[in-house]
């Protein structure tokens, strides 16, 4: 594919991610912090987010699988995930965490399990979409083009 087409795909895809609420303004902030001296900033931060989230989701699964659930612990994990998703602009993950925390407070096991499922879904979705986005970027660069700045 030629550069122009790739760039258009990139722009359209990015716009859809914002439109569909997967990403919010914080993600744009990250993009703005990237420059020639830090060309991989966004990928680096997002990769940290993936690693951190994978671990948190495992911890959450384990914590909710206990006989006697420690809701404080569960809440602490969700709080962390809420924070990191908010920091990278993963809006839907963040919102799912907000709902999750409410049920932690109520100590509602069933609801918490549903929330965990929801958070995982949203996380996997945004992860896949971001990976697609990064692949597109890479293709543009390989084809010798520049990544369009989104406003």
């Amino acid at each position: 594919m030629e550069v122009g087409q790739l760039q258009k795909s990139f722009v359209d895809y990015t716009a859809s991610l914002f439109r569909e609420g997967f990403l919010d303004g914080q993600f744009s902030q990250l993009q703005q912090l990237q420059d020639e001296s830090n060309p991989d900033f966004v990928v680096e931060v997002v990769s940290l987010f993936f690693e951190d989230s994978d671990k948190l989701l495992n911890d959450l699964t384990r914590a909710l699988d206990q006989q006697n659930i420690d809701f404080k612990k569960v809440d602490a994990h969700v709080h962390q995930l809420k924070g990191s998703s908010s920091s990278i602009g993963a809006q839907r993950v963040k919102n799912a965490c907000v709902a999750f925390r409410n049920f932690c407070e109520e100590q509602n096991v069933e609801a918490c399990l549903r929330c965990l499922h929801q958070v995982k879904q949203e996380y996997l979705l945004v992860k896949s979409k971001l990976e697609t986005l990064f692949t597109l970027e890479q293709q543009i660069i390989t084809a010798g083009g520049a990544i369009p700045m989104m406003e």
Partner: protein, 237 residues
């Protein structure tokens, strides 16, 4: 602007238990031209870096400090810390710094993902320079710069055009030209800046007790966020 030049000689210590947020704040600070940035993941590591751990602080700054890494003075010009951290919270860290005779003049900024008015007032009353809601943005740091410059100016009662590029403070204040972020960095002493800070801090403390309006905030709309700062107004973005 000369004040901005002085600011960019600042060594900032950022404290956050989240690796994502540490990376973010480091980049924000560097983009905001703070040259030297050190990040640590806990309040106790922050105190260690500042030379406080192991020190019996009863107001004697000359007491030898039993630090594992450094026995030299670490000159930190600004501490920016997360509030919610396991073990020592950002508030605890703030208190320790403000209770220390050697460190109390270092401006401390608190960050939090939660908009809890009582938390915010408590921090500001304890002497925090500013309180940022997370995620922190470049505009927050820019406002911080402006605010800190203003405090400096007020303290020195500078006429607006006193921006002499040959001012000794700026030229002697050094920092590593290729600013590297690391867990611990080699310290430098910057007595002139410290002095400025003392004046700045006492000024800040005077205006610190003023009302900070707590603003109720729902799920954050993208742009409109309250800011809390020492200039007494809640500024919307």
């Amino acid at each position: 602007m000369v004040m901005a030049a002085a600011e960019s000689q600042f060594h900032v210590l950022a404290v956050d238990d989240s690796i994502i947020d540490r990376k973010l704040i480091e980049r924000l600070l560097k983009t905001s031209s703070y040259r030297a940035v050190t990040t640590v993941d806990s309040g106790s590591k922050a105190l260690e870096f500042l030379g406080l751990l192991g020190e019996e602080d009863h107001g004697n700054p000359n007491q030898p400090c039993i630090c594992t890494n450094h026995s030299q003075e670490v000159a930190v010009n600004l501490v920016i810390t997360d509030y919610c951290m396991p073990g020592m919270t950002g508030y605890d860290l703030l208190k320790r710094i403000k209770e220390s005779s050697s460190l109390r003049n270092i401006p401390v900024v608190i960050m939090s993902s939660e908009n809890v008015p009582s938390r915010i007032s408590r921090c500001l009353q304890e002497g925090a320079e500013e309180f940022f809601l997370k995620p922190v943005r470049l505009s927050d740091l820019n406002k911080l710069k402006t605010h800190m410059m203003k405090s400096k100016c007020k303290n020195h009662q500078m006429p607006e055009n006193l921006e002499d590029p040959e001012r000794p403070e700026e030229s002697t204040a050094t920092s590593s030209p290729s600013a590297e972020t690391s867990e611990f960095q080699s310290p430098q002493s910057q007595p002139q800046l410290k002095q400025q800070q003392q004046q700045q801090q006492s000024q800040a403390n005077n205006s610190n007790n003023n009302k900070r309006k707590a603003v109720e905030e729902g799920p954050s709309p993208d742009r409109a966020r309250p800011r809390y700062s020492n200039d007494l107004t809640v500024v919307s973005n």
